[in-house]
Amino acid sequence: MNNIKQYILGFSVLLNLMINVSCNKTKQHSKWLTGETWKVSEVTIDGNSFGLLPQFKFDECDIYDEICFGTLIVENTSMANFAWQIRDKGSIFELSDQTQNVDESNEEAVSFSSSFSGIYNVNQIDKKSMELESDNCKRYPGKKVIFKLHRE
């Protein structure tokens, strides 16, 4: 009888762990971004380097209760707003430009934010680094865009 009890208890603990670990990757990966600033260290389009390397400042947010926003900063001067989301067990990252007003002062950042809006596969992510890949960025449909980012 004791064996059955231990078996049921062990099984339930294992099942709980499995469900929690798998379903919380979206939340866990999102937590690594919220409230943090990540610097783009490399962007390539079909293997060719892209010169502009901005910072992504992710606002604090609850991913299930609200849309998460952030600020894209180019050389500490030009800024754009974006919405973002991690989903599918942390395997997908989506970027969507949300800048309301565009003028000379933020044109560079908005151009980046709108050009690279799209759905990315998360190739790699941990607390300090992340690699994203997409072939459906708004300005570069059909081209392989790879982002490498590091937390500041």
């Binding site: 044109e107 708004k138 570069y140």
Partner: protein, 186 residues
């Protein structure tokens, strides 16, 4: 055994209610507000206003768009001196294989072509207007008046200015920015 059953049932109920939100619980992300035009080709057709048989076309073609391979065609513009040309532009998205001139026309209240000449004797006057109040220039059609012979450049910029077009270059995103080498010959 009864205690274990209660514990198990309670823990599973709690787990499914509180423990694990699904991706379907995530809010839907809004569409991007600013979307860049993907323009891979621009062609300029110039018709001599005093001789409609003198039609010349100059092209910029970058088949794979920004980044990637270099443009496969970037013509030098040749003009006769002291001549007036009627100019029109056509734009093409080679990635989706569609002409997008009509799209720019449909959204003319949000688009502006800016022409800048450098080191060359050439005046460019935009002749088409949008439906804003008051109407503002678009730039798909224009009149070019060449002066004396010489070499220089014509810069053609397409600004995307949704809801903020004011007739000037400053607001909005830049969809196209091309510098055509230009020669005016006698």
């Amino acid at each position: 055994m009864k205690k274990y059953k209660i514990f198990l049932i309670t823990s599973f109920v709690a787990l499914f209610i509180f423990g694990c939100k699904k991706d379907t619980d995530l809010p839907k992300l809004p569409q991007p507000i600013n979307e860049p035009e993907v323009i891979t080709s621009l062609s300029i057709t110039l018709t001599d206003s005093s001789n409609v048989n003198d039609v010349r076309t100059f092209e910029f073609i970058d088949s794979d768009g920004d980044g990637g391979n270099q443009p496969i065609k970037f013509d030098t513009i040749f003009l006769k001196s002291n001549t007036t040309y009627i100019a029109s532009l056509k734009l093409f998205n080679g990635i989706l294989n569609e002409e997008i001139t009509s799209e720019i026309e449909d959204e003319s209240n949000d688009h502006l072509f800016v022409y800048k000449t450098s080191e060359i004797n050439l005046e460019i006057e935009i002749t088409d207007l949008d439906n804003n109040t008051p109407p503002l220039p678009i730039g798909l059609r224009s009149k070019w008046r060449s002066g004396i012979a010489g070499n220089g450049t014509i810069q053609i910029i397409l600004k995307h200015q949704p809801g903020i077009k004011d007739g000037y270059e400053s607001p909005g995103n830049t969809d196209v920015d091309l510098n055509f080498q230009t020669k005016i010959i006698n």
